[in-house]
């Protein structure tokens, strides 16, 4: 079991709703951005002197630019429907981690300065002055929200706390109180092209290594091209896919699928990152800048289609926002949606019978699937609502013989976040990540015990990284999390691939 300087929750049979216990997570805040991180994303270097005035100005500006913010601040009736839906509340019992509790941190100030009753009867309507402590409270609790949108499913008005968290982070950024993790990464993407700061030569190196691996394994020359002009498809994938387990096994899978489809494809150095952390900090400008790299790469390389690899929040930005931020994509082949998800691409081939998949290759696993929050509740795959649930499952089921779903209250639109999304995947927030993973870990443990599940597949780089760390905290193994295209990669038999029988024949000949 992994070590921790906080209490790791004990898993019970059911996901229990804890009693309210004020302040249990008040001590936790992520590292504050340094001046150069702030600079890199275009915000004041440190907390500005007139923060009071600036904060209110920023709030006013955001509510005029975002209907969601304005309507959500007004419409909440405090019905309580969302109160027990957030994994961070379920894991901590801190009422400010209840979605409405989290919104109220901002709503109190909104009411005080922007509504009549709040101006004249603050006590009556729960309005509060904006103080220096308010900012700290915001900083702390708006960085304990993974922007997973689970709360918005259950709210009668669709109030989405993720929108409020993004707005809050934007407001904090504008007064010079940004988060180190996100802002440092965004600056890196602007400068180098990916979150990890991997330069072109390093990418090339990795890709060549992959080509060798696949060749050794199959005897087939599968290419992993980089910056290849004139390719049909630009693949944009999270940078974790280039080196970390189990991500990289997924990347191998994409390569094999493209190879079998007989299409030419390429990665791009400048757009070597699918994730868009601009969303996490609610900054339209940063999100737009990051998205424009994809457009630029597609134009420069002259591709016809754009396909995104396995990444959750990235797929939200790609599916829901890319056309807005970096469109129109009228220079691409209009026969295909822009962008496409790799699962859509693979599923299409499977349906057409173009992939030779040997399910038994994954026979040592019993699989389940974790719906990543932003894929589930903020995007779609295919042309039917809910395709984001069925298509990845179909791809998994076509690649293995043993598949079981987790409890129905924890999948599809009701899926629990992994606990590390939305800019929380950093060591300084480990405590909330562990506690927030509890509901998912509970559901997973149940299918492990009842159905003999051995592995959980996911299509998100954050989920995969987060679970690799979380599983050991809860007494499971870190390699129990796998990529969906890792399963495809295991099962796929490439045209001309040497099979075990060939190998045996060779062996006899040699003997």
């Amino acid at each position: 079991m992994a070590k921790a300087d906080f209490e790791v929750p004990e898993l019970k049979k059911h996901i229990e709703v804890p009693r309210v216990e004020e302040g249990t997570m008040a001590h936790l805040s992520p590292y504050v951005a340094k001046p150069d991180h702030q600079n890199g994303v275009g915000y004041p270097e440190e907390l500005v002197e007139n923060w009071h005035e600036k904060t209110l100005q920023a709030m006013d500006d955001v509510r005029k630019k975002y209907r969601s913010f304005q309507v959500y601040l007004d419409a909440c009736v405090k019905c309580g429907s969302c109160t027990d839906k957030c994994h961070y509340f379920l894991g901590t019992g801190d009422p400010k981690n209840m979605p409405v509790g989290r919104q109220d941190l901002l709503r109190k100030v909104y009411r005080r300065y922007f509504t009549l009753p709040g101006k004249y009867f603050p006590k009556l309507v729960g309005a509060e002055d904006l103080t220096r402590e308010t900012l700290d409270d915001w900083y702390s609790y708006y960085h304990q929200c993974s922007q997973c949108r689970r709360c918005s499913v259950f709210c009668p008005y669709g109030i989405d706390t993720a929108e409020i968290s993004m707005a809050a982070r934007e407001i904090l950024d504008r007064v010079g109180y940004g988060q180190k993790y996100c802002n440092e990464i965004i600056a890196k993407v602007h400068k180098i092209g990916n979150n990890l700061g991997l330069p072109g030569p390093a990418l090339l190196d990795t890709l060549e290594g992959l080509e060798e691996d696949v060749f050794d394994e199959t005897g087939v020359e599968v290419k992993f091209p980089l910056d290849q002009e004139g390719a049909d498809i630009l693949l944009v994938t999270p940078s974790a896919d280039f080196f970390a387990e189990p991500h990289v096994d997924g990347l191998m899978g994409y390569g094999k699928v493209f190879h079998e489809a007989g299409v030419s494809w390429t990665l791009s150095t400048t757009a070597s990152e699918a994730a868009n952390f601009g969303m996490f900090i609610g900054s339209y400008e940063n999100m737009r800048r990051i998205s424009l790299r994809v457009r630029q790469a597609a134009k420069e390389l002259g591709v016809k289609r754009i396909v995104f690899g396995e990444c959750g929040h990235a797929w939200r930005v790609a599916y829901s926002f890319l056309n807005t931020l970096a469109g129109p994509f009228d220079f691409l082949d209009p026969k295909y949606p822009v962008p496409q998800h790799i699962c859509e691409f693979t599923y299409d081939l499977i349906r057409k019978g173009k992939l030779n998949l040997d399910k038994s290759a994954n026979d040592e696993m019993v699989l389940t699937f974790h719906d990543s929050c932003n894929v589930a509740r903020a995007s779609r795959m295919g042309d039917q609502p809910g395709g984001q649930f069925t298509i990845p499952r179909e791809v998994i089921k076509a690649s293995c013989n043993h598949y079981v779903d987790m409890h129905h209250d924890t999948i599809h639109e009701k899926t629990f976040c992994c606990g590390g999304g939305g800019g929380l995947l950093t060591d300084d927030l480990m405590e909330i990540r562990v506690k927030g993973a509890k509901p998912r870990m509970t559901a997973l443990q149940n299918v492990i015990q009842e159905n003999g599940v051995t592995h959980m597949a996911a299509i998100c780089a954050i989920c995969k990284s987060q679970f690799s760390k979380m599983l050991p905290f809860y007494g499971m193994e870190m390699d129990q999390i796998v990529s969906v295209h890792q399963l495809v990669s295991n099962a796929i038999i490439l045209t001309g691939q040497k099979t075990d029988e060939d190998a045996e024949e060779n062996a006899t000949e040699e003997a």
């Binding site: 009693r19 309210v20 004020e22 509510r63 005029k64 630019k65 975002y66 209907r67 969601s68 913010f69 304005q70 309507v71 007004d74 419409a75 909440c76 009736v77 405090k78 019905c79 309580g80 429907s81 969302c82 109160t83 027990d84 839906k85 009422p95 209840m98 509790g101 109220d104 009549l116 009753p117 009556l124 309507v125 729960g126 949108r149 499913v153 259950f154 709210c155 009668p156 008005y157 669709g158 109030i159 989405d160 929108e163 339209y284 737009r288 599916y319 926002f321 056309n323 807005t324 469109g327 949606p337 822009v338 589930a376 509740r377 903020a378 779609r380 042309d383 609502p385 984001q388 639109e413």
Partner: protein
């Protein structure tokens, strides 16, 4: 004309004006603020009629609340459905010749009054008893329920305990509408009932009662899921492209 009649006539004119202008102003604020990004909570409808249906299910059946909390759903349903029927029943006070449908629902309107009260009691108890809901409740949240409850109670009391001259009440409101006032009966329960209703109308545009228009402007519920097919862009975002 009695002093009471004048006061209440003016009060209702003022309350109506505040209600209409206030809500109109809020709606224009909502309408003016653009939704720069596509954020429907998915799975979401891919067509406009689909969205209309989604909003219909949300407004009439409280679909999301049902997913979230069965008890709250039950009490809210009792309250809102009760309220809707009761309001319809009251339409007769504003019509010379009462429409047939309004005549037909009169008997049900009475039961609806009890449903309304029961729903409010349920919601109030939840607010007190569930620690999470207690934590998020401000004094105004309790007062709102009490206000609505007292309106219901005074209304029911007029029906079942001390009758009021409903014909005179009808004349009073018809008079207000045609600006030819007729006297309001000086019954205690009636005065209380009308006073509370006027207060409710006045605070409506400044309170969480804005959830009523708000739901129609909620981007997570009213947007079509077609971001790949149609480019969606807000005017202020468009400016960034120039």
């Amino acid at each position: 004309m009695s002093f009471l009649t004048i006061v209440f006539a003016l009060l209702f004119y003022a309350a109506t004006a505040i209600l209409v202008i206030g809500i109109g102003y809020r709606i224009s604020t909502y309408a003016k603020a653009p939704a720069p990004l596509k954020i429907p909570t998915t799975p979401a409808p891919t067509t406009k009629p689909g969205v209309v249906l989604r909003l219909f299910r949300e407004v009439v059946f409280f679909e999301s609340l049902f997913k979230g909390s069965k008890w709250t759903w039950l009490f809210s349903m009792l309250f809102h459905a009760g309220l809707a029927l009761v309001l319809l029943r009251h339409v007769r006070y504003f019509q010379h010749d009462v429409w047939l449908p309004i005549q037909l629902i009169q008997p049900f309107g009475i039961y609806a009054g009890f449903a309304l009260a029961l729903g409010l009691i349920g919601l109030f108890m939840r607010r007190i008893l569930v620690d999470r809901v207690r934590y998020i409740s401000a004094p105004s949240d309790y007062l709102m329920l009490i206000l609505l409850f007292l309106i219901g109670l005074s209304g029911l009391a007029m029906k079942f305990v001390v009758h009021t001259d409903v014909i005179a009440v009808k004349d009073f409101f018809l008079g207000l509408m045609t600006f030819s006032w007729s006297p309001l009966p000086a019954d205690f329960l009636l005065i209380v009932h009308l006073l509370l209703v006027a207060i409710l109308m006045i605070i409506f545009p400044f309170s969480k009662l804005l959830h009523a228009p708000g739901i129609f402007f909620s981007p997570s519920r009213n947007q079509v899921d077609d971001s790949r097919e149609k480019r969606h862009i807000a005017p202020w975002a468009k400016q960034l492209e120039e």
